[in-house]
Symmetry: C2
Subunit: 338 residues, 2 copies
DNA sequence: GGATGGGATTGAAACGTTTCGCAGCCTGTG
DNA sequence: CACAGGCTGCGAAACGTTTCAATCCCATCC
């Protein structure tokens, strides 16, 4: 049905090699150029990317494996990534693995079969086992948001300064006199969880505060988890006077839990949240929070991947760390206690 | 680097055709089967999907073109679609066109170059001009959420019963005695906008109410648009006593506008919203609203596409209409006026 | 024991490009 | 006028599969 270069060749009387050269930016005699262009129009020729891929051994496809598509933080990263990659004529195949390591591994294999040129992954499996095959296949692998220790030096990554961000938030609270500071973390063993915990502990140490174990809760990065974690914290005999919540969904859960318990922010409790996402910002506009630069994460990731794709020989893997910002709201005040 | 079937052939002493047959489920003598399986393990052979695509003339890739990836309604559809398609070994390339018809057309062409087997589109360009090329290429096209009139009979579609849904919501209000009912629509000329307007007008007619032009507002399906539209409605001398808001973002905007104006729901104003999306359902849990079955939309779309892909000859295009449901909350009450 | 038949196996061509090495042509110079 | 040298164009092979028609092998039957 569709026209091929062979048809162009017949139509113009030129050799296949000449036609190919024309499409790849080679120099072609003026009259031949015109002849080809006419033939292209006449026959509605479009190059067959599949055939090109077979011959050139590159598909111009990037595989993206993420834990969850229905997550605003992730989609805004993907969206900015896809934008840049497509402009460079790279397609993006997205695989949502529902935070399931088994599915994640299958997704990687699926993409490898398709011979993607590169892989971008927000890792669910912290051991990195799912990426072995990709490394064997010798394609560039780029982690986003979460580092995988066992892969250090073998892959590139774009992350944020988690520990610093958490430290900044907690320090803000200690400076205002808070000593009983609740922390709501994501799932245990996740890179970001650990890093944010480290930042929290460091800030407490700097303020000479001994951490209280029962103030540290895990909310699995879900709204319900956050709700539950905060509800539990409120039940403690010796309640925290301030809260640092380490992602968007849990911050939402936190605010609901507080609303339902009739606890006022900041009068009764100071709160620092995480991630300002489009719509949500308007609902609790006065929240003090840590902002992640989603768009930059996507942009950096896309550009870094393009870089890796260009200089396949230069095996030096880079880790890009982006900084967060603390946005001041009105959800924090000096500690009223003792 | 990577092993090919030729290597397997050499290793096992079998012909290429036999190896191929084995992989495509053909019958192979027991000892040959074993020989092949051993060779596969030994050489770490993985089939090259690109070469297969070239030969079989199908890529097992579905292109998906949407107006916006950072939109929870859309991503939950995509997520359920991708799940089903990948299980059938189809990959999904997502293109976000930022609600820009020009980009939309480019995206379609991009995907066509890549020889996708089918196209799923939530159309930005209501004229359908961007899909001409896809129809010429003779690949199945499936619209979701929005019908395109000019393509009727040429493409399949999965939509919801917009007019019925809107009618149901508005009828609920008229039955409670409301006669001044504000309507907040999306962008003009969008399929869903028109259909929902139709449902509204029908319901008014049934109740013997003459529509008031200034009660009908366009909020462009954005939160800000909804906020603005509702703020304007509140400024009217003869305010509506009830509101029907026709998507999720605008419903959010509506609730904020009402909160800021100190208007109580339902005491001062009855409200029916649209779309219950994960997180935000919890923030306004008592809203009466129309629920769209996102997951079913995705599922139906995926299955319908698979169907189209199987029976390429049967050109009968189907339009699947899914029903919505009215979820009762506490944001509606009988009209206090007159 | 040889013919028959049927299933497994095979070689070769094809899918639509890119690329390599070589041939052809033209221009300008000695 | 012949020849060197630089472009441009060409044929053919290759990328890794699938598939067709033909062949082969083996068991069965007469």
């Amino acid at each position: 049905m569709a026209a091929t270069m062979k048809d162009l060749s017949r139509e113009t009387g030129l050799g296949l090699a000449t036609i190919s050269k024309y499409f790849n930016g080679g120099v072609v005699r003026e009259k031949n150029r015109l002849a080809i262009e006419n033939a292209v129009k006449k026959l509605h020729y479009v190059p067959n990317e599949v055939a090109r891929s077979l011959k050139t051994q590159q598909t111009r496809v990037i595989g993206v494996v993420i834990p969850e598509l229905s997550n605003a933080f992730i989609t805004s990263i993907i969206s900015s990534m896809e934008d840049i990659l497509r402009k460079q004529d790279y397609a993006v195949i997205v695989c949502d693995c529902r935070s399931d390591p088994k599915r994640e591994k299958e997704a990687v294999e699926f993409l490898l079969h398709r011979r993607v040129d590169g892989l971008i992954n927000m890792a669910t499996d912290a051991t990195g086992a799912h990426l072995k095959a990709a490394l064997n296949a010798n394609i560039p692998v780029l982690l986003i948001d979460r580092l995988v220790e066992s892969l250090r030096g073998k892959v590139s990554a774009v992350v944020i300064d988690n520990a610093h961000a958490a430290g900044q938030a907690v320090r803000k609270l200690t400076e205002l006199g808070h000593r009983k500071i609740g922390l709501v973390l994501g799932s245990p063993n996740l890179y970001t969880t650990n890093q944010r915990l480290t930042g929290y502990l460091n800030a407490l140490k700097d303020a000479g505060i001994t951490p209280t174990e029962e103030y540290i809760r895990y909310g699995n990065y879900t709204m319900d988890g956050g709700y539950q974690a905060v509800s539990d914290l409120l039940k403690l005999k010796d309640r925290p006077t301030a809260l640092f919540v380490t992602n968007f969904e849990m911050t939402l859960g936190t605010m609901l839990a507080l609303q339902h318990s009739g606890i006022r922010v900041p009068e009764d409790l100071s709160v620092i949240g995480f991630d300002k996402l489009e719509l949500f910002g308007e609902i609790f506009p006065d929240l003090t929070l840590i902002r992640q630069p989603q768009l930059s994460i996507g942009r950096e990731a896309a550009n870094l991947m393009l870089d890796l794709l260009m200089n396949r020989d230069a095996v030096s893997h880079r880790i890009v760390t982006l900084s967060t910002a603390l946005t001041e709201g009105r959800s924090v005040r000096a500690c009223a206690d003792g």
